[in-house]
Assembly symmetry: C2
DNA sequence: GGGGGAAGACAGACTGGTCTTCCCCGCGGT
DNA sequence: ACCGCGGGGAAGACCAGTCTGTCTTCCCCC
């Protein structure tokens, strides 16, 4: 459970970070992030990861004791980079009121769906690929629940009633629109946003 | 693309269907249906399938030229057995009016979510496992679109306006509730049904 | 006798993971 | 200033197991 996969803090001397492209672990994580995001964790093997990141196999296993621990680190990175930076903080930036921020999530989704490298939500994908009993599935569930927590906090800011149920319903819309977009329906975000509007209305004090 | 995977019609003589447990292809399909439904298509190999169905490997490959063709046949069976018989016809049976039938889908979903062998929707799962470019992903998209067509037909029966958009929005709710249930939220069907009610209201003439 | 099927060996490619070999580079001691 | 040591990393062989798919052998039953 304890990831062990420590992303080495940038405490390296200026000198070697100048010539070296990046620390080995950083390069591995960068490659893993891209490949896992786009093709899923099951489709990407260790051999491909080490080849694309130009690292020796022994080096890989010195930084990450197993492939699963790398996937765990990837999910953590995904939470930071995607959930927090790309979706939530962007939605907060766009909405002037908490209520508007909740609806702005689907604006951000709409643009995300249009990207050519869009390939559904990694947490949902890993959950369905590995099953809810597998440690990686459990981790995915935890991160999805973390998202629900954030949504609930904004709902409380907005003064909505029963914020817990609100957040769970909004996540149904989020997940549904993501899957629908993976199927090719680029307008799924708009449909979800419309229903989110009714949901907000229904949870007004 | 052409399935090739012909499920042999029950045109066998009475005599051999008496002693034989079932035709080889039928036994393979039965085992595949259960394992694919519960664990996903990637997690189940040909060796396990032939072992559990008590059939020789050569026999397997005489009936199904490849594993993918078996998966294709499985998706087709899933459409017949799950989409049609378990969900849609059951929803139609329960609702007295077309509108009630649309909402009854989520009653059926709610009971489905409670089954201990519930493991999300096979079409969504295969789509996310294989990607939308893979033939199996394409087939899954086609079957999901078939479901949308059925929903749209009922929406037209109900006299709803813009039945196409209605159906797409309802499918967002269906998929979202399924994923949420796979995560452990057993009440996801109820939340989706509530939003479906608002959706129906909004599409009234 | 011939066809279908069970059993299973086999092929070839891949999986995650270990271990060995070599090399380079920076450090410390003289 | 030079030498030598040692650690990190690249390359890759290797291992045991898995995957899909083929082919052979035997047997049974019509």
């Amino acid at each position: 459970m304890s990831p062990e996969a420590k992303v080495p803090q940038p405490s390296e001397s200026l000198a070697d970070s100048l010539m070296a492209p990046a620390g080995s672990a950083d390069r591995i994580m960068a490659v893993a992030y891209e490949l896992f995001s786009q093709r899923g964790v099951r489709d990407v093997g260790v051999n491909e990861l080490i080849e694309r990141s130009g690292v020796a196999k022994a080096t890989f296993y010195r930084h990450f004791p197993s492939k699963d621990s790398l996937v765990l680190a990837f999910l953590e990175q995904r939470d930071r980079q995607w959930t927090m930076d790309m979706i939530l903080s962007e939605a907060r930036r766009r909405g002037s009121t908490p209520t508007a921020q909740l609806l702005a999530v689907f604006d951000v989704f709409g643009e995300w769906f249009l990207r050519e490298d869009f390939e559904a939500c990694s947490f949902v994908r890993v959950l369905l690929e590995m099953g809810p009993a597998h440690p990686l599935g459990q981790a995915s569930i935890a991160y999805l629940d973390k998202i629900r927590g954030h949504v609930q906090a904004v709902a409380e800011e907005a003064g909505l009633v029963r914020p817990d149920e609100f957040a769970r319903s909004l996540l149904v819309l989020m997940k549904g629109s993501v899957v629908q977009a993976a199927e090719g329906d680029m307008l799924a975000a708009g449909r979800a946003q419309q229903m989110a509007g009714w949901l907000v209305e229904h949870h007004r004090a």
